[in-house]
């Protein structure tokens, strides 16, 4: 039997493709075809396929944003019947909750992530500062100023700027949470016209224009990773998974001088970190449920973690999904393990920000319309970063277009 697996082209997924011999040894009758795509393309392709019941894929890599929506629509096969040995209860509750709708687990987490501050210990030292475990935004600003040395192409801070709900808006939404801003009030009225959003965006723009790298409006996770790895960033606030890349001496020129801290806050309660997981789900249309399940089970099992550890070392195992991993003493030796776990635990999708919100999701709003709105808003903020418009104008546009879309979708009259 051949199953087709759609995955995102990130390092953990690619690594898995290299370890398939183990799977084939255990399931000699199953053949796996990979479709590896860039995140946005992947999302478009699988959504289109699942929504139209195209049946092209048997296993899909999907994010925490999609799972509840799709699960609710009955588009995914329930994974409640995974065998005992899988140990569902070992999954981190924060992650598992996000994948469960009405008691049915609709996807198995492959890795989970939050966001945190990664910084250069050497530069920090040179600047005469010390990074606390839980910094504030004010400190980040101070540190960024101190570390920036544009003549030598060292930029104090690298942040996402590329437009997209999963790109710059992931960061900005999380940051906004720590500023007390929110996407919608309880009547689904967009909130970009609030003081809190204005502060968020102004601070972001100030950080980036003064201490950020050139071309930041086109930088996403990957671009920033490349910058950080080549020693061009003093600090980088991004996904916790990046930690294993920046500390990998094969790829990173700064591997031995990276420190980690929790995402900053403003003393209002929420920190500016998000919660995300890439999960494996099985679309309801597939004819090959058993084979697909076998694969999902294998890929998200403890054994797989052990397999990676044995082949590539503990630093490279997919993080953020299982309690047991963080209890493993070998893993605890990994420098970023603790900070990752803390970050994940500190995010609360049900209460992401200071005020009450009608939606679930830290750095996204779990409604179908959000992809479009988030991307369109992201474009406005990206344009502001590129200097094509002012912050006020960007916020104004964001407010208007969000109102428009919400009106069209019928949330508000």
């Amino acid at each position: 039997e051949t199953i087709t697996v759609a995955t995102v082209n990130n390092g953990d997924m690619i690594r898995m493709q290299g370890l398939m011999d183990d799977f084939y040894a255990k399931h000699p009758d199953i053949e796996v075809e990979w479709v590896t795509l860039e995140e946005n393309v992947l999302r478009q392709r699988v959504t289109q396929d699942v929504a139209t019941k195209g049946g092209q894929f048997d296993v899909m890599t999907i994010g925490t944003y999609e799972v509840p929506i799709w699960g609710e629509r009955g588009w995914l096969v329930s994974l409640n019947d995974l065998p005992e040995s899988y140990d569902v209860d070992d999954l981190l509750p924060a992650i598992r909750d996000g994948l469960t709708v009405d008691g049915e687990l609709y996807a198995a987490p492959f890795y989970g992530e939050s966001s945190m501050v990664m910084y250069r210990t050497d530069l920090m030292e040179k600047a005469g500062l010390e990074m606390p475990d839980a910094p504030t935004w004010a400190f980040i600003k101070e540190a960024a100023a101190a570390m920036t040395d544009k003549d030598n192409e060292v930029y104090g801070i690298c942040l996402r700027g590329k437009a997209g709900w999963g790109e710059n808006m992931a960061f900005l939404s999380a940051m906004a949470n720590s500023y007390g801003a929110r996407w919608f009030d309880m009547d689904w009225q967009p909130q970009f016209n609030t003081e809190a959003w204005a502060n968020t965006l102004n601070d972001y723009l100030e950080l980036m224009t003064n201490y950020g790298p050139p071309g930041a409006s086109g930088n996403g996770f990957n671009e920033n990773l490349a910058l950080f790895q080549t020693g061009k960033c003093g600090m980088w606030i991004d996904a916790t998974v990046a930690a294993s890349f920046v500390t990998n001496p094969n790829d990173s020129q700064v591997a031995d001088s990276v420190g980690f801290a929790q995402a900053p806050d403003n003393g209002l309660g929420p920190r500016g970190n998000w919660l995300w997981a890439w999960n494996l789900g099985i679309p309801a249309g597939t004819q090959k449920v058993d084979a697909a399940k076998a694969f999902v089970e294998w890929a998200t099992s403890k054994d797989y973690t052990a397999l990676v550890a044995s082949k590539e070392g503990w630093a490279n195992v997919p993080p953020g999904t299982r309690q047991s991993l963080y209890e493993n003493p070998e893993y605890q030796a990994v420098p970023f393990a603790k900070m990752t776990l803390e970050s994940i635990l500190s995010a609360d999708p049900k209460h992401p920000t200071v005020d009450e919100v009608p939606y679930v999701g830290v750095q996204f709003v779990a409604i179908p319309e959000f992809q479009g709105i988030g991307t369109a808003v992201g474009q406005q903020f990206s344009a502001a970063l590129a200097g094509q418009m002012s912050a006020e104008q960007a916020l104004d546009n964001a407010q208007k277009l969000t109102e428009r879309e919400m009106m069209k979708a019928g949330y508000i009259k």
Binding site: K162, G164, P214, S217, E369, Q379, Q388, L401, K408
Partner: protein
């Protein structure tokens, strides 16, 4: 040629092509048209309902629509201007005798074979990247501030990339046309006392008119639907600075999965494309018959 028999066979033989294209056009088009009147989001199945012109109202009142319209025109016209003028100059150069003509032809034609995705990736990362790109290196070597092409001048950068891909095509057609110019006409003009520049203006350029029309027609067809280059380099941004109609519809229907809105956009784009088509056909029809 014109016997009844041959006319009948002609009709028979053209019909597969016509029927297939008709099907290819009408079936999806009517579906698109139908969808455009629905409130239809892929993510919310079962909620399709007739909404009349709502989708059109939203699409046409979207500020991004006008930006996209303008960007589409700028992109098409920009690339046409660059490739036609560049193509003429290049064709004039390549028409001269020089050593290694064959190899230079090969070098010049090469971009035409490159996939749009690849060329966009290569240009974006290895040349236009403001930190690690070659242009940035060059600027720094000259003591200049690296220019951030894709965020400061996104549309122009895309025009540049697309022009690079289409320049060979224009050059080749124009070169062939130039070589087909009757040498005696040039000699006659020379005898008539026309210096080179006037020979170019009065003899060569009019001779190239047909070829230029063809270049414009073919390129316009492809340029109206430029997509991969935008997706890869700027994602239509910053803001909507490099969003063209194709990309805008893509965002509507495939990022937001708003099939209804996307279909309305598609219908609008089809109408606009047909306006362009009619305009072009007029031009080409006139020029090709002459």
């Amino acid at each position: 040629m014109a016997t009844k028999h041959s006319r009948m066979s002609a009709r028979l033989m053209i019909s597969p092509a016509v029927l297939l294209l008709l099907g290819w056009m009408l079936i999806p088009l009517s579906m698109t048209l139908y969808f455009s009147f629905l409130r239809y989001n892929l993510l919310m199945p079962g909620m399709e309902e007739f909404t009349g012109l709502t989708n059109y109202r939203f699409f046409l009142s979207d500020p991004a629509f006008f930006a996209a319209l303008w960007n589409t025109i700028a992109l098409v016209v920009g690339v046409l201007v660059v490739t036609v003028i560049g193509g003429i100059l290049l064709a004039l150069l390549l028409d001269q005798p020089f050593f290694g003509q064959g190899i230079v032809h090969i070098l010049v034609i090469a971009p035409f074979f490159v996939m749009p995705t690849v060329s966009a990736l290569v240009w974006k990362n290895m040349f236009m990247n403001p930190v690690n790109g070659l242009f940035a290196h060059a600027a720094k070597a000259l003591g200049l501030q690296p220019f951030d092409f894709l965020s400061s001048a996104p549309l122009a950068s895309i025009i540049g990339i697309v022009s690079w891909q289409w320049l060979p095509f224009a050059t080749l057609i124009l070169l062939t046309a130039l070589q087909s110019l009757d040498q005696e006409q040039l000699e006659a003009a020379e005898m008539d006392g026309a210096p080179w520049i006037k020979r170019f203006w009065y003899i060569m350029l009019p001779h190239l008119a047909r070829a230029i029309t063809v270049v414009i027609l073919i390129q316009t067809i492809f340029l109206l639907s430029v997509f991969a280059e935008i997706l890869v380099t700027t994602n239509g941004g910053p803001g909507t600075a490099s969003t063209n109609l194709t990309y805008l519809i893509y965002m509507q229907s495939l990022l937001q999965f708003d099939v209804g809105g996307g279909s309305a956009g598609g219908v609008v784009a089809i109408i606009l494309a047909n306006i362009v088509a009619i305009f072009l056909m007029r031009m080409i029809g006139k020029n090709l018959d002459a």
